[in-house]
Assembly symmetry: C2
Homo-oligomer: 378 residues x 2
Amino acid sequence: MTSSIDSLDTPVAVVDVSRMQRNIQRMQNQANRQGVRLRPHVKTTKCEQVVAAQVKAGAQGITVSTLKEAQAFFAQGITDILYAVAMAPTKLNQALALRRAGCSLTIVTDSVAGARAITDFCRTHGERFEVFIEIDSDHHRSGVRSDDPVLIEIARILHEGGAVLKGVMTHAGESYKLNTLEALQEIAEIERSECGMAAEAIRSAGLPCQEVSVGSTPTALSAVHLDGVTELRAGVYVFFDLVMHNVGVCQLDELALSVLTTVIGHQPEKGWIITDSGWMAMSRDRGTQSQQCDFGYGLVCDTEGKLIDGLQLRSANQEHGVASFEEGQQVEIEQQFPIGTRLRILPNHACATGAQYQAYEALDENGEISLWPRLNGW
Amino acid sequence: MTSSIDSLDTPVAVVDVSRMQRNIQRMQNQANRQGVRLRPHVKTTKCEQVVAAQVKAGAQGITVSTLKEAQAFFAQGITDILYAVAMAPTKLNQALALRRAGCSLTIVTDSVAGARAITDFCRTHGERFEVFIEIDSDHHRSGVRSDDPVLIEIARILHEGGAVLKGVMTHAGESYKLNTLEALQEIAEIERSECGMAAEAIRSAGLPCQEVSVGSTPTALSAVHLDGVTELRAGVYVFFDLVMHNVGVCQLDELALSVLTTVIGHQPEKGWIITDSGWMAMSRDRGTQSQQCDFGYGLVCDTEGKLIDGLQLRSANQEHGVASFEEGQQVEIEQQFPIGTRLRILPNHACATGAQYQAYEALDENGEISLWPRLNGW
């Protein structure tokens, strides 16, 4: 067989385009069903071709995690961009340059000091930044609580200081720690209601709050209703990964990203198959370590993407992976997986694994491969 | 103050050039004292300027972890290159192209199948590859044991099959798990003696084995003597990191790599300082997690590189880091670390953190900054 995947040098990040398309459609259907816009978080792929597929399916605007992503996707014609990390004052110049170039960039703050830095900058530069206030809906990371008086203080500073107070946004990152539909539905409802209450509090103070933006892949897919929400954000759903499988929002055959690797050696007495997929190829992400099912550095498939029962990448050095079967499995590894054998590894975390590569190899249903560059750095 | 570090966008990887130079000299001194060549492993930095400093200090040849590194450093004038990962047959064409271009590339194998693939390729292409046999000195990963009859079989296949059997090499990766001088000296001696015995076994079989190449940063620095060894390999010593500090081979003030970050928010009730150094900036490497002292995602310093007592980057999302003091420490975080504050984080693992960046910002003793590009990918 000489399908084009066999011609690739390893290690390489392979995207199963059919699976990706189904994942994109699944999330878009959920947004459509709930009557909200979908603003995908492009931090997972940082890839023009993937984002084009999301937009084609119905996404409206994108979310980014760095201003470099904003610059790149704006250069590719996307104008409606949310930079979803609290704005550092030193980065306002970069944001200003994007807005002056015609990008409808929305920025985020969650503090009085942050809001003041933005409005000071607005006045100095005669620019009306559009701003979301970040809400802490689940005690996960950043944001202000919906019932904290500071929320109204921030809103007032922005509105009266010359910024456009566009709305509120939240991200229920705690959802990654859950693994039952009931718990996911509950946190999705908390995410929705907390963000909605924050919007109501702002409106009750006589201030504008048009947008209510929520989301994470687990909550977005689990939400029963999204009343009061205007847009949904999610990122990793486009590829899914082993962490999301453990959370319970995807099946293993929905994982669209894998690392193609080559067997380079064995330690037969230990049952070790040595591969060229070390942590540089997989990333150091061991997200499943703290979940109910620890998948090591990844689950091993054949080149067709079919799981090999019991075979896992159990440890990794920089350019060496060590795969082995479960204890008790009797496998003649040197005979069944001789040097030169190609395998595909499903990763813990698609965002982290993708970041180890400068491009994806996109494998379509005909076995054709296209190179899809991705962005890295800041 | 307006030193040039203040003008950098964050997050960014900063190299303290003075510390780096001292680290380079320290390892070179050890090699000189032991009467062996130093062949630094450039996988840590993949950076022309760093490698130039190593060569200037006395390094002879380099070790690489990918053929892309070999290509890049050969293009920069380094001809004596050891590719220290067992050769995948599919990569022999790349290796051949390098040799035909004039690169003295040495490759590695540890199996009969690997040796046969190399000699078959030698015959087909009329090329006499120079080859090291990898020895398993510490049951860590790859390699053949010094007393395994397969060692002589591999040596004979190479020698009689048209390759140049150049020598043996080993890497005592288990040394990373140790943390006392006595244990490090012991594993350094095992690494030396096992590799030496392998060389002797090959020579006793009437086969050539000129080179005996050993090393890892912990063993290289701990070896009491290196009788029979011809060259030393080590990589991470050039920057050191928190893992190496826990192993016991460097002081915290010898760490030459840090991530410059900006405070972007707070959760005052929790004592959280939110930074723009998430795992994308630090890498997901949590190497200290299994050591005697878990440093989280890193130890926090001020912009001068001075440690801030008790402050640690305790968790990380993609573009958010969460730093906090130890329980019981009373610190007014919003006042002492207001939004916009710059900090520097010492990473777990310099190889992994560096790989998140396309360049280092090299900070010299005068506070001047130079951009040092690095290589990534395969």
